[in-house]
Symmetry: C2
Subunit: 225 residues, 2 copies
């Protein structure tokens, strides 16, 4: 799932990936203390790889270090989360614009299929499934820009807010809205309409931002102590 350390061997990178996944999946809630020896025990390694992993996670922004007091899973204020979504909006919109011009034929086909799957999930009222398809659709568009730097940046940001956006599709109404927005985006991309693809993706993510911040206000407080 996580693409964080540019795939190599090494215990530190392995530990880094596993912690990153647990954070993204919400198993490690924001504000959770990350004790080096505990983690070392949990992954059956010494403290050294754990320390290196935590340092990497800190530079990724998934973890926050406090001087001589160890690491915490990063938490965000509502304002910070909002800024994050704004940044993601800018990046994904850029990705969508480039995707409109650069998508290969098979990629274009897959984009259409994913969107169709989204419709089925929506009509079935399957929230989990829609969320999964939604993720894949966005991933397809991001990858479709064919610019590794942009892709990496965008996915990095998405990973950082992953644990904060779980409740995105709680309301069924938001799913219908989301699908309608996806339609505009997908159609624009397939029509190679760069301006519309950019604009629609941007407003789509602004809408998602509002949907999220409405639901998750209480997490934000850093429960440091």
């Amino acid at each position: 799932m996580t693409a964080a350390p540019r795939g190599r061997g090494g215990l530190a990178d392995e530990v880094c990936r596993r912690i990153a996944d647990e954070i993204a999946l919400g198993l490690l809630a924001p504000g959770t203390r990350l004790d080096e020896v505990t983690l070392a025990g949990r992954f059956a390694v010494s403290r050294t790889p754990v320390r290196e992993a935590l340092k990497q996670l800190a530079t990724m922004g998934l973890v926050v270090y406090r001087r001589n007091r160890g690491a915490l899973v990063a938490s965000m204020t509502p304002a910070e989360l909002d800024q994050m979504f704004e940044a993601i909006g800018e990046l994904e919109a850029a990705c969508a614009r480039h995707a409109a011009l650069r998508l290969t034929e098979p990629e274009r086909q897959r984009l259409g299929e994913l969107h169709a799957q989204g419709r089925l999930a929506m009509q079935a009222g399957d929230v989990e499934r829609y969320a999964a398809v939604n993720l894949e659709l966005h991933a397809a568009i991001i990858a479709g820009c064919h610019n590794p730097a942009l892709i990496e940046l965008t996915n990095g940001l998405r990973e950082r807010v992953a644990s904060f956006r779980r409740t995105q599709f709680r309301h069924i109404e938001r799913i219908a809205e989301s699908y309608a927005e996806h339609t505009a985006i997908v159609e624009a991309i397939l029509a190679r309409d760069v301006v519309t693809a950019y604009r629609e993706m941007r407003s789509h993510l602004l809408a998602a931002r509002n949907a999220t911040s409405r639901v998750a206000p209480q997490w934000a407080t850093p429960q440091s102590k």
Copy 2:
């Protein structure tokens, strides 16, 4: 200069900053081997902080790791550099758009002053000075978006390409072009014209990309081994 690790104490972060600076300044050329013991000696610390620093630099993208063979200063192919500039263009353009709406009065004033300084440097034919002012102007616009996530992302990318864009203003003609583009950008921002600010900043960085890649084709080859 470098803002890499979110300012804390600790030798690892100190070493990280210093190495990052040396890379950005070109003292450590792309492809240079980063020997742990050598660096440890140079900074008068043990290998541990150096290792942690290198791991951080690797996740920042300034350094690449080869499995069980240590770290190298990251180098880029012309294609990768191009993609990098494209990504920077998207980000800075977004910053410019937000800056047009969010700049405070003192910030707006400073922006005008910086641009005026650029004109003086250009008229004096002072390449070094123009390059410095150029840097400050871009930094002012980036900071002016008032979105920490966007700012951090953009500056991170700029740092990664810093050592590759040193020759940007070799040709005096490029300075004149650059200044003219800056004029369009600054005027748009000061007029709160979001569309123009975005468009002009984007094309400005595309132009800079071309200017750079024309000059620096040979560095790109990864001189591994």
